[in-house]
Symmetry: C2
Subunit: 285 residues, 2 copies
């Protein structure tokens, strides 16, 4: 049996397009429905409670698009909201934290792993806890890099200023002699070359976008949910706002032209009625 339903991917904004890009490469037959909450981006500076509420609304929108599996392309959502989402919904929901952790544990030789991300992701300590759960004795050095997101969105991804910002943030990780660095934010792959330059060639950089696409491929196979039909896939992109520069930023993230994007009214993302909202969200309060 071939499952022709789409893969649902969501993010706080356009950053998740880096994940879409990898899914297109590794799963070329699958349809993708993307939702980016561009009206409320960024999530990484907000509290867990608000991120959980927003993630719930994002998921509800994608469920109405009849998706077979959900991918939280946002590290902040994956860090602070994934567990309650998995508990409340019956379809498979994958986050970007787990595959990055597995890749980092495979790559490290000295068991000293660095993690960079938004303030919300780092303060949640999700990466640190999960790395230590999987391997006792691993040393995790975490660093929030809040200015990386606006720099990536503005396209200031090379040159003196971003290099100095990167040196400020990454200096402490270098001094702790990490040999592996997890990019714990969907925006950071855009800054990969400046990050690699600053930490040096001896450090392996783990790009979670590549890892989640591989995991998704395996999972669909195991669950018998692949689309095996030969056909041209149909992709849909939804966002909660189409601001100035959206096309430019979106294409920078996706790595190819962005043709059709539909704006969704924030109000329509609400659940159908208050009772339903309450039932789904009780686990979040």
């Amino acid at each position: 049996m071939s499952d022709t339903r789409a893969i649902g991917i969501f993010d706080s904004g356009v950053g998740g397009m880096t994940v879409v890009h990898e899914v297109f490469k590794k799963l070329p037959r699958e349809d993708v429905v993307y939702f980016g909450d561009t009206a409320r981006v960024p999530y990484g500076t907000k509290s867990p409670r608000v991120v959980q509420l927003f993630a719930l609304q994002d998921v509800c929108f994608l469920l109405k698009q009849n998706v077979k599996v959900l991918v939280a392309a946002c590290h902040t959502v994956s860090s602070v909201a994934l567990e309650p989402l998995i508990q409340h919904f019956h379809l498979p929901i994958l986050g970007v934290v787990e595959p990055g952790i597995n890749a980092a544990l495979k790559a490290t030789r000295n068991n000293r792993i660095g993690v960079i991300g938004t303030r919300a992701t780092i303060l949640s300590e999700t990466y640190e806890k999960k790395l230590k759960e999987k391997r006792e004795g691993v040393t995790v050095i975490s660093q929030p890099c809040p200015l990386f997101v606006p720099f990536a969105e503005e396209g200031w991804i090379e040159g003196e200023v971003i290099t100095k910002v990167a040196r400020t943030y990454l200096g402490p990780l270098q001094r702790q002699k990490i040999d592996t660095l997890i990019l714990g934010c969907t925006h950071y792959p855009l800054l990969k070359s400046v990050i690699q330059h600053v930490v040096g060639e001896g450090v392996t950089i783990v790009d979670s976008a590549e890892e989640i696409a591989s995991l998704l491929k395996t999972r669909l196979k195991v669950l018998g949910m692949e689309n095996t039909e030969e056909r041209t896939p149909h992709h849909q992109f939804f966002v909660s706002d189409i601001p100035h520069q959206f096309k430019e930023v979106g294409e920078r993230f996706l790595g190819k032209p962005l043709t059709s994007v539909t704006r969704v009214d924030l109000e329509s993302i609400q659940l159908e009625n208050e009772e339903e909202m309450c039932r789904f969200s009780c686990g979040f309060r």
Copy 2:
């Protein structure tokens, strides 16, 4: 008659605290109710339509607090959403654009005025149009400075990196020989010293927070809406999210300790019923 009702001040986040700070100084007897939409900050990178919708919800929340006058402390709201708000509500609504413009026209000697702000504010061309309406022959040079907001929020307000960022943004304004510069974003007063350093002492910097407080004082007097009772004022601060670092950032903006802050559920900011929402928002679509 003394009007003891509070002044309502709203902003996309904590930036509007710079306005609250000036209102405390110039109107020490007045109560203030503040609302900061910290769950959806920033507004300056979003489309006019979404900013208008969010501003409508902010205003509706403050109206329920029985305020006598509203101040949009956010330049993005003042640039793209003030007119429809004024048309739809019956109480006085003041924005931060007008008083900044008046101060700049008073200050300039060569009629060459610079304006810096978020991308949404600058692309709206509100400052440029209004300056030219008030004085033919004035030359306006505008520059969006999108990285200034995250730098101000992160507290990177001095040193080599922010100075380089400021030089990149402000260089074109200097080459155009402006003698007056309007800080068209509530966050920018925090960067005033680095901005002054980069543009030079010969350029007069207009801080709209000071100007709006003076205008508000005059307006309340003219309308007979001052509070003339001798008493200790009672202030209330509401936000849609209380993220990590909120207290630190809020106090940096307010310039004094931030005691009590109440988080408001985003859902409760909605208007009471759909019909009401529709009626108010029809002018925004």
